[in-house]
Symmetry: D2
Subunit: 255 residues, 4 copies
Amino acid sequence: DRPFVVAGRTLASRLIIGTGKYQSYEDNARALEASGADMITVAVRRVNLSDPSQPRLVDFIDPSKYVFLPNTAGCFTGEDAVRTLRLAREAGGWSLVKLEVLSDPKHLYPDMAETLRATDMLVKEGFDVMVYCSDDPVYARKLEDAGACAIMPLGAPIGSGLGIQNPVNIRLIIEAASVPVIVDAGVGTASDAAVAMELGCDGVLMNTAIAEARDPVRMARAMKHAVIAGREAYLAGRMAKKRYADPSSPLAGLI
Amino acid sequence: DRPFVVAGRTLASRLIIGTGKYQSYEDNARALEASGADMITVAVRRVNLSDPSQPRLVDFIDPSKYVFLPNTAGCFTGEDAVRTLRLAREAGGWSLVKLEVLSDPKHLYPDMAETLRATDMLVKEGFDVMVYCSDDPVYARKLEDAGACAIMPLGAPIGSGLGIQNPVNIRLIIEAASVPVIVDAGVGTASDAAVAMELGCDGVLMNTAIAEARDPVRMARAMKHAVIAGREAYLAGRMAKKRYADPSSPLAGLI
Amino acid sequence: DRPFVVAGRTLASRLIIGTGKYQSYEDNARALEASGADMITVAVRRVNLSDPSQPRLVDFIDPSKYVFLPNTAGCFTGEDAVRTLRLAREAGGWSLVKLEVLSDPKHLYPDMAETLRATDMLVKEGFDVMVYCSDDPVYARKLEDAGACAIMPLGAPIGSGLGIQNPVNIRLIIEAASVPVIVDAGVGTASDAAVAMELGCDGVLMNTAIAEARDPVRMARAMKHAVIAGREAYLAGRMAKKRYADPSSPLAGLI
Amino acid sequence: DRPFVVAGRTLASRLIIGTGKYQSYEDNARALEASGADMITVAVRRVNLSDPSQPRLVDFIDPSKYVFLPNTAGCFTGEDAVRTLRLAREAGGWSLVKLEVLSDPKHLYPDMAETLRATDMLVKEGFDVMVYCSDDPVYARKLEDAGACAIMPLGAPIGSGLGIQNPVNIRLIIEAASVPVIVDAGVGTASDAAVAMELGCDGVLMNTAIAEARDPVRMARAMKHAVIAGREAYLAGRMAKKRYADPSSPLAGLI
């Protein structure tokens, strides 16, 4: 397999996890370790990174061991997102970021016009921008043209666990992209992650599927294996589907 | 996780692979090693086990390291199957066996009436009988009552790679069984195996999905991870599916 | 289209409906009329056919206008089913019957061994036997060989509304059958009925999908159209599926 | 049912068909009649509407009996689309139009930024604009805000026949829309059309599914029934799905 490289950084794992909905930062840290991920995304407007009087994420997850990926969860305009990431860069030095510009809370889909505008602004300010987006291949193309370093189409609404709704679109995006494509949002269980990878994605980002499993650490481990399984199956080249049976052992000429 | 025990034998892996369709016994052995399986099924009417003038499976796969599971591939009557397994027991001392009594070559589905009759005969002769069967929960129950040590419902026609066609039936079989349930036939790629395990199966048996992949060794590795992923996800307890989005980071009270 | 003939009787509609779960016989009659069906199945152990002191089905649905199809709902042994149908024949003169021999109430799947045995008994007694069965193509074949005049595989558990779970099996049954194949059980909404017909079934039988709809009469009308739609689509021969777009209007040579 | 009204015009049928890929205008006319549609969409850059020396569509399909809906098939920029529709209005007086602004020929998805811009231009020029769009609920909202009189999300790539890929998105669009939602593109067979209508769409537009069926007239008839079936099922309110069986006839208290 070729290495998984985003904006010049080589990641050992193709699984990226989040930092929302866990009972505690300690649980989050344990799930992270079990997942094998080396990148973790952080809602910089929500997570306590700096106030030493409160529990801080960095006390449980070491920024020198894991790649922190600041995201703009909760931003509904391009300006809001850009401002948030500027603060993150000033505070933590992070220039590799995940942009999300949301619209209606009912589905939390990105507003693609605003997302593209914000991508453009961030790229001009020197950020490396991974972009949460719809599964529209046309906008995926525009984001890459605007300089996005990774395209992150949603598989289903954030936190829904419905699995990849439109494999056709994900496939079309992958076929046209020359930057990494990472399915972001919608995975509910291990097979969903495997399906995403079998389509040829470069990686998968998930939060709720792990954080809201009955046993998050075990589900993190499941996801680690699922992402490897899906990637290996993609590279191995699956058998053709057949309408009828095909015996493993020839029926003719039996002893 | 509780151990995976079939007829008193504890298996380290929940994946069982086959010995058909490989280019050579050497390729088969390499796929077996990559799969992590410790049980391998052998069509005793097809595979050369004893003639030293020809390549023998046992020269490549060591019966002292792997559990050989003789099967009755190519048998279309109960008597035929029983005769085949008696010979296998005499030749190799194998008493743990996999019964399959086929019907029409078009779909290679088991004839369940004959299969039940043969199970009964074999159990009376002291065999430990793992049984390839349809996904009919009523017959699964009858097989267990007849003394089958494992129920092996098909997911789709042998060699079709169509994936689990009827998850409802597999679930109903699992809910009622007190012996291991192993999906046998129909898996085409890694996510199919994960889906089977997420339903709560105890194991998965496959042949064509590995042997006919472009790179069988890599697909064997994919399947190893897929089976672990599916099992862990089943044990972890997946998140509930939701009709609408559910933010990873609360939208209210942002900094 | 060739006519839909069961045991020598030509039916105008390929939809057959039931008589369970309705609020009243009047509602049942109105749904029947809306459905366009000319055959209606009756659980002879449950429905009042003869006691004039109670509301009788025949006071609402005229047996001279509709084909009554007595069924053995609630029978768990072959003998029980045969006894029930003998009584029905004596009482109403019905010799065209629907056999169901159930097993576990959890799934209400047929016990196929008992079902085959009962088919054999009924055929020998001169009944025309339509048989509720699993979707196992091997048993479908045995039923036809035993003289069943229609094969009625289940699409999903009775009353579940889950839709056709295993289109592969339904297709395999149809390809091999020379008597009508009628999907019986599992339809939940109109598209499910259309899917069944598109597979090439000769008809569909349903009860709960209509009786438990919010508006049963309207759903009966929906099902009438769905069955016609699916049949016509099957006969029309659908377009091939394509992985990429194919413009309706050529893109080259525009005016 | 409430009437199906687009921009003040009441349509008797919820099915809209096309004029591409037919062998002849005569075949097209016969399919139209069988479909029951009263609106037909016309690629004004492709179809001969006015040259009397060549076969003209209007010689076969009477514009006084059917609503002609000029479309911009083959337009890849907003300006191109606007120019095309201005010509159509001058030539035929059509002010109710269907806008499509395409992108990559591989998938023929709309360029949503251009589509929104063109919608805005056309609305300002007094057109009633039905808009072919992606299934992105955010853009569906923007189109409605810009004055589109109908939202026409794609179900799958034009001409692919893959069926509705993302029912979640179609549902989200319907829940938020106050103008008609018409699935446009992707339908392959009758059940696909029924599924679209069961989601609550107001109508379905299709071309290839009919034109490329083996028997287009019969498929047109299938689609007529499928659209009615799906609409009626939606209005009837389907039964709840259940995990286990639910007998049509109570099992207790049998006679």
